[in-house]
Protein backbone atom coordinates (compact mmCIF):
# COMPACT_ATOMS: atom_id res chain seq x y z
CA UNK A 1 0.00 0.00 0.00
CA UNK A 2 1.23 3.48 -0.80
CA UNK A 3 1.56 5.84 2.14
CA UNK A 4 0.74 9.53 2.22
CA UNK A 5 4.00 10.74 3.74
CA UNK A 6 5.73 14.07 3.06
CA UNK A 7 8.72 14.20 0.70
CA UNK A 8 12.18 14.44 2.21
CA UNK A 9 13.97 17.79 2.52
CA UNK A 10 16.15 19.08 -0.30
CA UNK A 11 19.92 19.29 -0.09
CA UNK A 12 20.36 22.33 -2.32
CA UNK A 13 22.07 25.55 -1.33
CA UNK A 14 18.93 27.62 -2.08
CA UNK A 15 15.85 28.20 0.06
CA UNK A 16 12.40 27.14 -1.04
CA UNK A 17 9.46 29.23 0.17
CA UNK A 18 5.99 28.09 -0.78
CA UNK A 19 2.71 30.00 -0.68
CA UNK A 20 -0.45 27.92 -0.60
CA UNK A 21 -4.11 28.65 -0.08
CA UNK A 22 -7.42 29.06 -1.84
CA UNK A 23 -7.91 31.30 -4.82
CA UNK A 24 -8.44 34.80 -3.49
CA UNK A 25 -6.73 34.15 -0.16
CA UNK A 26 -4.21 36.90 -0.89
CA UNK A 27 -1.21 34.60 -1.15
CA UNK A 28 -0.02 35.92 -4.52
CA UNK A 29 0.01 39.51 -3.31
CA UNK A 30 1.97 38.54 -0.21
CA UNK A 31 4.41 36.34 -2.11
CA UNK A 32 5.18 39.18 -4.52
CA UNK A 33 5.69 41.67 -1.68
CA UNK A 34 7.95 39.30 0.23
CA UNK A 35 9.99 38.59 -2.89
CA UNK A 36 10.46 42.28 -3.52
CA UNK A 37 11.59 42.87 0.07
CA UNK A 38 14.04 39.97 0.01
CA UNK A 39 15.54 41.34 -3.16
CA UNK A 40 15.89 44.77 -1.53
CA UNK A 41 17.68 43.03 1.36
CA UNK A 42 20.29 41.90 -1.13
CA UNK A 43 19.27 38.27 -1.60
CA UNK A 44 19.12 36.57 -4.95
CA UNK A 45 15.43 35.88 -5.38
CA UNK A 46 13.64 33.83 -7.97
CA UNK A 47 9.87 34.11 -8.15
CA UNK A 48 7.72 31.49 -9.83
CA UNK A 49 4.00 30.84 -9.96
CA UNK A 50 2.11 27.76 -10.97
CA UNK A 51 -0.51 28.67 -13.53
CA UNK A 52 -1.40 26.34 -16.33
CA UNK A 53 1.16 26.40 -19.12
CA UNK A 54 0.26 26.51 -22.80
CA UNK A 55 0.72 22.78 -23.07
CA UNK A 56 -1.72 21.98 -20.28
CA UNK A 57 -4.22 24.68 -21.24
CA UNK A 58 -4.49 23.47 -24.80
CA UNK A 59 -4.90 19.84 -23.75
CA UNK A 60 -7.51 20.80 -21.17
CA UNK A 61 -9.42 22.79 -23.79
CA UNK A 62 -9.37 19.86 -26.17
CA UNK A 63 -10.27 17.39 -23.42
CA UNK A 64 -13.15 19.50 -22.23
CA UNK A 65 -14.58 19.88 -25.71
CA UNK A 66 -14.52 16.14 -26.30
CA UNK A 67 -15.51 15.30 -22.74
CA UNK A 68 -12.39 13.18 -22.34
CA UNK A 69 -10.88 14.48 -19.12
CA UNK A 70 -11.27 12.42 -15.97
CA UNK A 71 -9.93 13.10 -12.46
CA UNK A 72 -6.98 10.80 -13.24
CA UNK A 73 -5.96 12.39 -16.54
CA UNK A 74 -6.59 15.85 -15.10
CA UNK A 75 -4.28 15.01 -12.20
CA UNK A 76 -1.54 13.49 -14.37
CA UNK A 77 -1.70 16.37 -16.81
CA UNK A 78 -1.02 18.87 -14.05
CA UNK A 79 1.79 16.66 -12.82
CA UNK A 80 3.34 16.88 -16.31
CA UNK A 81 3.14 20.64 -16.05
CA UNK A 82 4.60 20.77 -12.57
CA UNK A 83 7.44 18.37 -13.41
CA UNK A 84 8.38 20.58 -16.34
CA UNK A 85 8.25 23.71 -14.20
CA UNK A 86 10.22 22.02 -11.48
CA UNK A 87 13.00 21.09 -13.94
CA UNK A 88 13.14 24.53 -15.51
CA UNK A 89 12.09 27.04 -12.90
CA UNK A 90 12.69 25.60 -9.45
CA UNK A 91 15.63 23.22 -9.62
CA UNK A 92 18.17 25.48 -11.36
CA UNK A 93 17.78 28.48 -8.99
CA UNK A 94 17.72 26.13 -5.99
CA UNK A 95 21.02 24.63 -7.12
CA UNK A 96 22.40 28.09 -7.79
CA UNK A 97 21.59 29.19 -4.24
CA UNK A 98 18.60 31.48 -4.75
CA UNK A 99 15.68 32.14 -2.46
CA UNK A 100 12.95 30.58 -4.59
CA UNK A 101 9.48 31.93 -3.90
CA UNK A 102 6.73 29.65 -5.24
CA UNK A 103 3.17 30.82 -5.59
CA UNK A 104 1.62 27.32 -5.32
CA UNK A 105 3.58 24.07 -5.21
CA UNK A 106 2.72 20.36 -5.15
CA UNK A 107 0.27 20.94 -2.24
CA UNK A 108 -2.11 22.63 -4.66
CA UNK A 109 -2.21 19.37 -6.59
CA UNK A 110 -2.62 17.30 -3.43
CA UNK A 111 -5.73 19.18 -2.37
CA UNK A 112 -7.21 19.66 -5.84
CA UNK A 113 -6.78 16.01 -6.86
CA UNK A 114 -8.08 14.73 -3.54
CA UNK A 115 -11.13 16.99 -3.94
CA UNK A 116 -11.69 15.28 -7.31
CA UNK A 117 -11.58 11.86 -5.71
CA UNK A 118 -8.05 10.73 -6.56
CA UNK A 119 -6.25 8.58 -4.01
CA UNK A 120 -4.16 11.08 -1.96
CA UNK A 121 -1.30 8.61 -1.49
CA UNK A 122 -1.10 8.00 -5.24
CA UNK A 123 -0.93 11.73 -5.93
CA UNK A 124 1.87 12.10 -3.35
CA UNK A 125 3.89 9.41 -5.06
CA UNK A 126 3.61 11.09 -8.41
CA UNK A 127 5.01 14.29 -6.94
CA UNK A 128 7.69 12.60 -4.88
CA UNK A 129 10.34 14.22 -7.11
CA UNK A 130 9.42 17.56 -5.50
CA UNK A 131 11.33 18.00 -2.23
CA UNK A 132 9.89 19.41 0.96
CA UNK A 133 10.15 23.22 0.95
CA UNK A 134 11.93 25.09 3.74
CA UNK A 135 8.69 26.81 4.60
CA UNK A 136 5.08 26.42 3.50
CA UNK A 137 2.85 29.40 4.21
CA UNK A 138 -0.78 28.37 4.18
CA UNK A 139 -3.19 31.27 3.85
CA UNK A 140 -6.20 30.32 5.91
CA UNK A 141 -9.38 32.13 4.95
CA UNK A 142 -13.12 31.38 5.04
CA UNK A 143 -14.51 30.21 1.70
CA UNK A 144 -17.13 32.98 1.80
CA UNK A 145 -14.39 35.63 1.81
CA UNK A 146 -12.65 34.19 -1.24
CA UNK A 147 -15.94 33.94 -3.13
CA UNK A 148 -16.72 37.61 -2.38
CA UNK A 149 -13.24 38.60 -3.60
CA UNK A 150 -13.66 36.48 -6.69
CA UNK A 151 -17.02 38.03 -7.53
CA UNK A 152 -15.76 41.54 -6.79
CA UNK A 153 -12.83 41.01 -9.17
CA UNK A 154 -15.38 40.39 -11.96
CA UNK A 155 -13.14 37.64 -13.29
CA UNK A 156 -15.13 34.89 -14.84
CA UNK A 157 -15.02 31.74 -12.70
CA UNK A 158 -13.52 29.06 -14.87
CA UNK A 159 -15.11 25.67 -15.35
CA UNK A 160 -12.49 23.56 -13.58
CA UNK A 161 -11.78 26.16 -10.89
CA UNK A 162 -15.44 25.82 -9.94
CA UNK A 163 -15.18 22.02 -10.06
CA UNK A 164 -18.00 22.00 -12.61
CA UNK A 165 -16.67 18.69 -13.94
CA UNK A 166 -17.74 17.07 -10.66
CA UNK A 167 -21.38 17.91 -11.14
CA UNK A 168 -21.70 19.45 -7.66
CA UNK A 169 -24.18 22.00 -8.90
CA UNK A 170 -25.37 23.44 -12.20
CA UNK A 171 -24.90 26.91 -10.78
CA UNK A 172 -21.30 28.11 -11.23
CA UNK A 173 -21.19 30.12 -8.01
CA UNK A 174 -22.68 27.34 -5.95
CA UNK A 175 -20.36 24.77 -7.52
CA UNK A 176 -17.39 27.07 -6.86
CA UNK A 177 -18.38 27.43 -3.20
CA UNK A 178 -18.75 23.68 -2.73
CA UNK A 179 -15.54 22.84 -4.54
CA UNK A 180 -13.52 25.48 -2.64
CA UNK A 181 -14.97 24.06 0.58
CA UNK A 182 -13.59 20.66 -0.38
CA UNK A 183 -10.20 22.19 -1.15
CA UNK A 184 -10.14 23.98 2.17
CA UNK A 185 -11.04 20.78 3.99
CA UNK A 186 -8.09 19.06 2.29
CA UNK A 187 -5.67 21.88 3.10
CA UNK A 188 -6.75 21.69 6.74
CA UNK A 189 -6.45 17.91 6.75
CA UNK A 190 -2.80 17.92 5.67
CA UNK A 191 -1.75 21.16 7.43
CA UNK A 192 -0.26 19.53 10.52
CA UNK A 193 1.51 16.58 8.89
CA UNK A 194 3.04 18.81 6.22
CA UNK A 195 4.05 21.39 8.82
CA UNK A 196 2.28 24.32 7.23
CA UNK A 197 2.97 27.72 8.73
CA UNK A 198 -0.56 29.01 9.11
CA UNK A 199 -1.18 32.58 8.06
CA UNK A 200 -4.40 34.21 9.21
CA UNK A 201 -5.32 35.70 5.84
CA UNK A 202 -8.25 37.70 7.15
CA UNK A 203 -5.84 40.33 8.54
CA UNK A 204 -4.68 43.50 6.82
CA UNK A 205 -2.09 43.22 4.02
CA UNK A 206 0.56 45.15 5.97
CA UNK A 207 0.09 43.07 9.10
CA UNK A 208 0.47 39.80 7.21
CA UNK A 209 3.54 41.05 5.34
CA UNK A 210 5.22 42.14 8.59
CA UNK A 211 4.60 38.71 10.07
CA UNK A 212 6.08 37.01 6.99
CA UNK A 213 9.17 39.20 7.07
CA UNK A 214 9.71 38.34 10.72
CA UNK A 215 9.60 34.66 9.76
CA UNK A 216 12.49 35.16 7.36
CA UNK A 217 15.11 35.97 9.99
CA UNK A 218 15.79 32.47 11.31
CA UNK A 219 15.41 30.99 7.86
CA UNK A 220 17.95 33.24 6.18
CA UNK A 221 20.48 33.39 8.97
CA UNK A 222 23.94 33.04 7.40
CA UNK A 223 22.34 32.84 3.97
CA UNK A 224 24.56 34.78 1.57
CA UNK A 225 23.32 38.02 0.05
CA UNK A 226 24.39 39.03 -3.47
CA UNK A 227 27.02 41.35 -2.02
CA UNK A 228 28.50 38.65 0.16
CA UNK A 229 28.46 36.12 -2.61
CA UNK A 230 30.29 38.55 -4.82
CA UNK A 231 32.74 39.35 -2.06
CA UNK A 232 33.42 35.73 -1.25
CA UNK A 233 34.13 35.34 -4.92
Amino acid sequence: MISESPSPAHGFPGRLLVFEGLDGSGKSTQAALLGKWLQAQGYRVFFTEWNSSDLVSSVIRRGKKKGLLTPTTFSLLHAVDFADRFDRKILPPMRAGYVVVCDRYAYTAFVRDAARGCDPAWVRTIYSFAPRPDRIFYFRVPVGTTLRRKLASRLKINYYEAGMDLGLSDDVEESYRRFQTRLKREYERIAAADEFTIVDATRRVEEIQAALRAEMRPLLENFPTVARLTHDG
Binding site: I2, S58, R62, T73, L77, D119, T125, I126
Partner: protein, 246 residues
Protein backbone atom coordinates in the same frame (compact mmCIF):
# COMPACT_ATOMS: atom_id res chain seq x y z
CA UNK B 1 -12.15 -9.82 -16.22
CA UNK B 2 -12.55 -8.71 -12.63
CA UNK B 3 -11.93 -5.00 -13.27
CA UNK B 4 -9.30 -4.92 -10.53
CA UNK B 5 -6.44 -2.44 -10.69
CA UNK B 6 -2.91 -2.84 -9.36
CA UNK B 7 -3.91 -1.00 -6.19
CA UNK B 8 -5.09 2.54 -6.91
CA UNK B 9 -8.75 3.06 -7.62
CA UNK B 10 -9.81 5.14 -10.58
CA UNK B 11 -12.25 7.84 -9.49
CA UNK B 12 -15.26 8.44 -11.68
CA UNK B 13 -15.24 5.16 -13.59
CA UNK B 14 -17.88 2.50 -13.10
CA UNK B 15 -16.47 -0.12 -10.75
CA UNK B 16 -18.78 -2.92 -11.78
CA UNK B 17 -17.61 -6.19 -13.25
CA UNK B 18 -16.41 -6.04 -16.84
CA UNK B 19 -17.07 -9.04 -19.00
CA UNK B 20 -14.42 -8.53 -21.66
CA UNK B 21 -10.91 -9.88 -21.44
CA UNK B 22 -7.79 -7.78 -21.42
CA UNK B 23 -4.89 -9.39 -23.25
CA UNK B 24 -1.56 -7.62 -23.40
CA UNK B 25 1.19 -8.37 -25.89
CA UNK B 26 4.50 -6.98 -24.70
CA UNK B 27 7.94 -7.06 -26.23
CA UNK B 28 10.60 -4.81 -27.68
CA UNK B 29 10.37 -3.13 -31.05
CA UNK B 30 11.01 -5.85 -33.61
CA UNK B 31 9.79 -8.68 -31.39
CA UNK B 32 6.86 -9.25 -33.75
CA UNK B 33 4.10 -7.74 -31.62
CA UNK B 34 2.20 -6.06 -34.44
CA UNK B 35 2.12 -9.22 -36.56
CA UNK B 36 1.08 -11.34 -33.61
CA UNK B 37 -1.72 -8.95 -32.68
CA UNK B 38 -3.07 -9.03 -36.22
CA UNK B 39 -3.08 -12.82 -36.19
CA UNK B 40 -4.60 -13.03 -32.73
CA UNK B 41 -7.32 -10.54 -33.58
CA UNK B 42 -8.21 -12.45 -36.73
CA UNK B 43 -8.37 -15.74 -34.86
CA UNK B 44 -10.47 -14.43 -31.98
CA UNK B 45 -12.91 -12.78 -34.36
CA UNK B 46 -13.28 -16.01 -36.32
CA UNK B 47 -13.99 -17.65 -32.96
CA UNK B 48 -16.78 -15.11 -32.47
CA UNK B 49 -15.27 -12.61 -30.03
CA UNK B 50 -15.42 -8.85 -30.46
CA UNK B 51 -11.91 -7.42 -30.37
CA UNK B 52 -10.74 -3.85 -29.84
CA UNK B 53 -7.04 -3.28 -30.33
CA UNK B 54 -5.16 -0.48 -28.66
CA UNK B 55 -1.57 0.62 -28.42
CA UNK B 56 0.62 3.23 -26.77
CA UNK B 57 0.48 6.82 -27.92
CA UNK B 58 -2.76 6.63 -29.82
CA UNK B 59 -5.01 8.68 -27.58
CA UNK B 60 -6.73 11.79 -28.81
CA UNK B 61 -5.83 13.74 -25.72
CA UNK B 62 -2.07 14.21 -25.77
CA UNK B 63 -0.61 12.45 -28.81
CA UNK B 64 0.15 15.83 -30.43
CA UNK B 65 2.02 16.96 -27.34
CA UNK B 66 4.01 13.74 -27.19
CA UNK B 67 5.01 14.00 -30.85
CA UNK B 68 6.01 17.62 -30.39
CA UNK B 69 8.02 16.85 -27.26
CA UNK B 70 9.83 14.04 -29.05
CA UNK B 71 10.71 16.28 -31.95
CA UNK B 72 12.07 19.04 -29.78
CA UNK B 73 13.59 16.76 -27.10
CA UNK B 74 12.61 19.52 -24.71
CA UNK B 75 11.05 17.70 -21.79
CA UNK B 76 12.84 16.10 -18.86
CA UNK B 77 12.64 12.38 -18.06
CA UNK B 78 10.01 12.71 -15.31
CA UNK B 79 7.89 15.07 -17.38
CA UNK B 80 8.02 12.75 -20.36
CA UNK B 81 7.17 9.72 -18.20
CA UNK B 82 4.13 11.55 -16.81
CA UNK B 83 3.03 12.63 -20.28
CA UNK B 84 3.00 8.99 -21.31
CA UNK B 85 1.02 8.22 -18.16
CA UNK B 86 -1.64 10.78 -19.19
CA UNK B 87 -1.87 9.10 -22.55
CA UNK B 88 -2.17 5.66 -21.02
CA UNK B 89 -4.79 6.76 -18.46
CA UNK B 90 -6.81 8.38 -21.23
CA UNK B 91 -6.83 5.19 -23.29
CA UNK B 92 -7.59 3.08 -20.26
CA UNK B 93 -10.56 5.17 -19.18
CA UNK B 94 -11.96 6.24 -22.52
CA UNK B 95 -11.23 3.20 -24.63
CA UNK B 96 -10.27 0.04 -22.77
CA UNK B 97 -12.69 0.18 -19.82
CA UNK B 98 -15.74 1.00 -21.98
CA UNK B 99 -14.82 -1.82 -24.38
CA UNK B 100 -14.32 -4.29 -21.55
CA UNK B 101 -17.59 -3.22 -19.95
CA UNK B 102 -19.32 -3.87 -23.26
CA UNK B 103 -17.89 -7.38 -23.24
CA UNK B 104 -15.23 -6.91 -25.90
CA UNK B 105 -11.77 -8.33 -25.74
CA UNK B 106 -9.13 -5.63 -25.55
CA UNK B 107 -5.86 -6.52 -27.27
CA UNK B 108 -3.21 -4.13 -26.03
CA UNK B 109 -0.11 -3.65 -28.14
CA UNK B 110 2.17 -2.94 -25.15
CA UNK B 111 0.97 -1.78 -21.79
CA UNK B 112 2.32 -0.16 -18.61
CA UNK B 113 5.29 -2.54 -18.61
CA UNK B 114 6.96 -0.90 -21.60
CA UNK B 115 6.15 2.54 -20.20
CA UNK B 116 7.67 1.61 -16.86
CA UNK B 117 10.75 0.03 -18.44
CA UNK B 118 11.36 3.13 -20.57
CA UNK B 119 10.92 5.47 -17.61
CA UNK B 120 13.23 3.39 -15.42
CA UNK B 121 15.84 3.18 -18.20
CA UNK B 122 15.76 7.00 -18.12
CA UNK B 123 16.34 7.29 -14.40
CA UNK B 124 12.96 6.84 -12.70
CA UNK B 125 12.95 4.53 -9.69
CA UNK B 126 11.27 1.14 -10.00
CA UNK B 127 9.12 1.96 -7.03
CA UNK B 128 7.94 5.31 -8.44
CA UNK B 129 7.09 3.84 -11.82
CA UNK B 130 5.08 1.00 -10.27
CA UNK B 131 3.12 3.34 -8.05
CA UNK B 132 2.40 5.86 -10.82
CA UNK B 133 0.85 3.06 -12.89
CA UNK B 134 -0.90 1.35 -9.99
CA UNK B 135 -4.25 2.55 -11.39
CA UNK B 136 -3.87 0.24 -14.41
CA UNK B 137 -6.16 -2.76 -14.72
CA UNK B 138 -4.65 -6.20 -14.17
CA UNK B 139 -4.77 -7.96 -17.53
CA UNK B 140 -6.16 -11.45 -17.88
CA UNK B 141 -3.02 -12.42 -19.76
CA UNK B 142 0.33 -10.82 -20.47
CA UNK B 143 2.23 -12.38 -23.37
CA UNK B 144 5.85 -11.36 -23.52
CA UNK B 145 7.50 -11.83 -26.90
CA UNK B 146 11.08 -12.55 -26.05
CA UNK B 147 13.62 -12.07 -28.83
CA UNK B 148 17.40 -11.81 -28.79
CA UNK B 149 18.90 -8.34 -29.38
CA UNK B 150 20.47 -9.53 -32.66
CA UNK B 151 17.04 -10.55 -33.94
CA UNK B 152 15.55 -7.23 -32.84
CA UNK B 153 18.37 -5.43 -34.59
CA UNK B 154 17.78 -7.14 -37.91
CA UNK B 155 14.03 -6.68 -37.74
CA UNK B 156 14.45 -3.00 -36.86
CA UNK B 157 16.75 -2.42 -39.79
CA UNK B 158 14.33 -4.32 -42.00
CA UNK B 159 11.48 -2.11 -40.80
CA UNK B 160 13.04 1.35 -40.70
CA UNK B 161 15.92 0.84 -43.11
CA UNK B 162 18.04 1.87 -40.16
CA UNK B 163 17.71 2.02 -36.39
CA UNK B 164 15.06 4.22 -34.81
CA UNK B 165 16.44 7.07 -32.67
CA UNK B 166 14.10 6.42 -29.71
CA UNK B 167 14.14 2.65 -29.86
CA UNK B 168 17.91 2.95 -29.71
CA UNK B 169 17.65 5.15 -26.62
CA UNK B 170 19.77 7.85 -28.26
CA UNK B 171 18.27 10.47 -25.93
CA UNK B 172 20.05 8.72 -23.06
CA UNK B 173 23.53 9.48 -24.41
CA UNK B 174 24.64 5.93 -23.69
CA UNK B 175 26.80 6.08 -26.78
CA UNK B 176 27.11 8.43 -29.73
CA UNK B 177 27.13 5.38 -31.92
CA UNK B 178 23.57 4.41 -32.89
CA UNK B 179 24.42 0.74 -33.21
CA UNK B 180 26.09 0.53 -29.82
CA UNK B 181 23.39 2.64 -28.18
CA UNK B 182 20.74 0.26 -29.51
CA UNK B 183 22.35 -2.71 -27.77
CA UNK B 184 22.98 -0.86 -24.51
CA UNK B 185 19.42 0.45 -24.43
CA UNK B 186 17.79 -2.88 -25.29
CA UNK B 187 19.89 -4.49 -22.57
CA UNK B 188 18.52 -2.02 -20.03
CA UNK B 189 14.95 -2.64 -21.13
CA UNK B 190 15.46 -6.41 -21.00
CA UNK B 191 16.74 -6.13 -17.48
CA UNK B 192 13.61 -4.23 -16.45
CA UNK B 193 11.32 -6.72 -18.17
CA UNK B 194 13.12 -9.49 -16.28
CA UNK B 195 12.40 -7.66 -13.02
CA UNK B 196 8.73 -7.50 -13.93
CA UNK B 197 8.29 -11.00 -15.36
CA UNK B 198 7.38 -12.76 -12.13
CA UNK B 199 5.77 -9.80 -10.40
CA UNK B 200 3.34 -9.22 -13.26
CA UNK B 201 2.95 -12.85 -14.36
CA UNK B 202 4.40 -12.54 -17.86
CA UNK B 203 3.95 -15.54 -20.12
CA UNK B 204 7.12 -15.56 -22.12
CA UNK B 205 7.06 -16.78 -25.73
CA UNK B 206 10.18 -17.44 -27.77
CA UNK B 207 9.92 -14.78 -30.46
CA UNK B 208 13.14 -15.64 -32.26
CA UNK B 209 11.05 -17.90 -34.49
CA UNK B 210 8.76 -17.27 -37.45
CA UNK B 211 5.35 -15.65 -36.79
CA UNK B 212 3.41 -18.89 -37.40
CA UNK B 213 5.25 -20.70 -34.63
CA UNK B 214 4.96 -17.77 -32.25
CA UNK B 215 1.26 -17.55 -32.97
CA UNK B 216 0.62 -21.20 -32.16
CA UNK B 217 2.21 -20.70 -28.75
CA UNK B 218 0.17 -17.57 -28.14
CA UNK B 219 -3.03 -19.35 -29.15
CA UNK B 220 -2.27 -22.05 -26.57
CA UNK B 221 -2.02 -19.35 -23.90
CA UNK B 222 -5.16 -17.55 -24.99
CA UNK B 223 -7.42 -20.57 -25.61
CA UNK B 224 -8.17 -21.34 -21.92
CA UNK B 225 -9.45 -17.78 -21.33
CA UNK B 226 -12.33 -18.49 -23.72
CA UNK B 227 -12.55 -22.20 -23.08
CA UNK B 228 -11.53 -22.74 -26.69
CA UNK B 229 -10.77 -26.37 -27.36
CA UNK B 230 -7.12 -27.07 -28.20
CA UNK B 231 -8.27 -28.72 -31.43
CA UNK B 232 -9.44 -25.35 -32.68
CA UNK B 233 -5.94 -23.88 -32.62
CA UNK B 234 -5.37 -23.44 -36.31
CA UNK B 235 -2.04 -23.09 -38.00
CA UNK B 236 -1.89 -19.88 -40.05
CA UNK B 237 -0.05 -19.02 -43.18
CA UNK B 238 1.52 -15.62 -43.49
CA UNK B 239 3.40 -14.20 -46.40
CA UNK B 240 5.63 -12.22 -44.09
CA UNK B 241 9.21 -13.23 -43.67
CA UNK B 242 10.39 -13.16 -40.04
CA UNK B 243 12.99 -10.44 -40.64
CA UNK B 244 10.37 -8.05 -41.96
CA UNK B 245 7.91 -8.54 -39.13
CA UNK B 246 7.50 -5.71 -36.73
Amino acid sequence: MTGKSYGTRLPGTPGGPAHGKLIVVEGSDGSGRTTEIELLKEWLEVEGHAVVDTGLRRSDLVSTEIDRAKQGHTLGATTMALLYAVDFADQLENKMIPALSAGSTVLADRYIYTLMARAIARGASRDWARKVYSFALRPDLVVFLDARPEILLHRSIGKYGSLDYWESGMDLSLSRDLFESFFLYQERLSKEFEWMATEYAFHSVDANRVPEQVHTDVQRLVAPLYAIDAGRIRPVKTTRRPVASG
